[in-house]
Symmetry: none
Subunit: 211 residues, 4 copies
């Protein structure tokens, strides 16, 4: 037993060390990709900043593309999670409250992951066909959610008769552009998330007209 523990101990210690290294590489890559973009970042940049040998990098990641993918997943996953929580069942909180809450959570998630947000919003496409597909899958899922929310809204008589698909894209465009403005152009540091959310929601719900 002692020995087993010892081995387990070793193993887990080793596994932990492995995870630490991996995390360190991810962190460094996150920063550099976010600063320079995918193409302008070289493996050299990453291993130099991580103070790790060339080969070591490939011990933890299959390729440059692989680490980039993994970084974007860090954002895809929580965003998808946040959005998934929208509840359209009867007895759920009122749609408007949910909308506010969701927008808030999305923005908060982006703020918490500014660097990856930059990555996502800048490196929209052009890496390769596979990545383009991944990206459009992600946005496709968001779109589907908005479409379903809009459709429900129309059914409930809250939302005017509109093309749900096209309007979903409008909403998505608002979110993307405002986030680009906040996280890519400005540093993303001093962003007033509340204000951003309020303006986006107002725009989305009522447009620019005075009613």
């Amino acid at each position: 037993m002692r020995r087993a523990t010892k081995i387990d101990g070793r193993v887990s210690r080793a596994a932990k060390a492995r995870e630490t290294r991996r995390a360190a590489l991810l962190q460094v890559a996150r920063r550099i990709f976010s600063q320079k973009g995918y193409h302008a970042t070289s493996i050299d940049d990453i291993i130099a900043a991580a103070e790790v040998a060339r080969g070591t990098f490939y011990l933890y990641f299959e390729s440059k593309r692989a680490i980039f993918d993994e970084l974007l997943d860090e954002l895809f996953t929580p965003i998808a999670e946040v959005v998934r929580r929208i509840d359209v069942s009867p007895g759920a909180p009122p749609p408007h409250d949910q909308m506010v809450a969701t927008v808030d959570r999305v923005l908060t998630t982006l703020v918490e992951n500014r660097e990856i947000a930059r990555l996502l919003l800048r490196e929209a496409v052009g890496i390769d066909a596979d990545f383009d597909r991944k990206l459009s899958d992600f946005y496709g899922r968001l779109e589907a959610l908005i479409v379903s929310a809009l459709s429900t809204g129309i059914d409930m008589g809250l939302v005017r008769e509109l093309d749900p698909q096209l309007t979903a894209r409008c909403v998505l465009g608002v979110v993307k552009e405002v986030c680009h403005y906040a996280f890519v152009e400005r540093d993303g540091a001093d962003v007033d998330v509340r204000k951003l959310g309020r303006e986006m929601i107002a725009f989305t719900l009522t447009g620019i007209f005075k009613h």
Copy 2:
């Protein structure tokens, strides 16, 4: 005189041939850039498709960047022209009509230049610092126009009190995203420009709510 005519004939024939070649190269480059993006397109791809020698390419364009720039200018220029025509002088057509007309013209221009539209909407950034600047200049000009239109609208009591800058980005986001949807994801072939325009305007003016 006969000789002069002859020479003129020759010169113009040569100049014409030159223009033809140039146009052919531009066309090929337009297609390939639009399909694969800037980075994934090599000079080799272009000259192979154009069935032209390596040196020939450089006879017509200074560099890969130069032909890319020229392609994007094919779209920048007419878009800027279209947008410039907005008339805020007294006695001008009513704002709403102008808006509809402008959106219509912008979309028509994009439809007419689908491939470059793809290029513009996909290659958001990451080519190089110069290009990033060019791109943000372009969008900056659009944004400024929208800001000024919104401010005028607020002054006239047509538009509600909103943050003109942020809202301009919302509008820009709507346009970009809808265009991305129409020209990048779908082929851009069977796009109902009228419908697209109507939906975008409705969304922008009144949001999603039923009033």
Copy 3:
């Protein structure tokens, strides 16, 4: 007869035009080669400055190398001529006078052909094996002449016992370096040929020592 004259007239007029063009190309090439060196000068530079089409250049010269060769021959020929005139026959002018006169003539020739002199003195080697051979032939001829002059001098008891070959190279080295100083480093414009000649001769004849 009239017709023949006419034709002759035409032919010679054409031949003259041909020569004029050739000369113009040579002149332009001379200037540019002299300013930028062989490698840094492109055919483009030459035809642009000569305002002549690309193909025209090749109508007059076989290649870049050929025109360069021809330019250097412009200097080789008169220099060889000048040096050939040294007269060691009995009853000839005294050796010292001839030496002074020769040095003077060589320097004058160089001054009159500053641009080619620059070329000769800078582009010592490295163009290709053929050119290297040509160059060493030229210097070989000069060397042989100096060797023979030195040997005669020794026989006549004027010159100390020395290794004629090696010393010939010393003399050549003096000439080359002083000319390099005068024509390459300084513009070659305000060169006091007399003084240069005097110093070189004094150095060659008596060295640096005070006797």
Copy 4:
């Protein structure tokens, strides 16, 4: 401690291997540059002769220019060192002895570095502006030394009244040309350094005249 030793062992072995490769590349480049000159030598030539992949070259040298520079420095450095050792302080060896010794050492250094000497003496100019400057700096330093030696000689009454600058160039010309003769034209293999030195010194000190 054992482990440290092991690591040290590894490190030094690796460092040694690195140095070996570097040296091999330098040697190959030295030979080829010396045979063909800078422009006629391509990276391809070097890596083919060194049996090394393209990328490997750039692992050891920044650029073609960088390896060329380094090669020339192999000669610049010891020559500068040798020449620097001239001692004009009171109580120093007599000037003539120092001159003989210096010439001897310079020639020996050149013999020991024949290939680079060829390089130095052939690639007079034309690589690029930077290199031209480097070269003229080097020769400028030599010239300055000779000028100062001549001026001292004049003050001491040993050297006749002459133009020190121009004469320094004469001396430099003698050295360059004789070295060119010995190292570029002849293989540089069977050069009798002593004799060369003696002749050069005799020529420089007393010229060709029998006194």
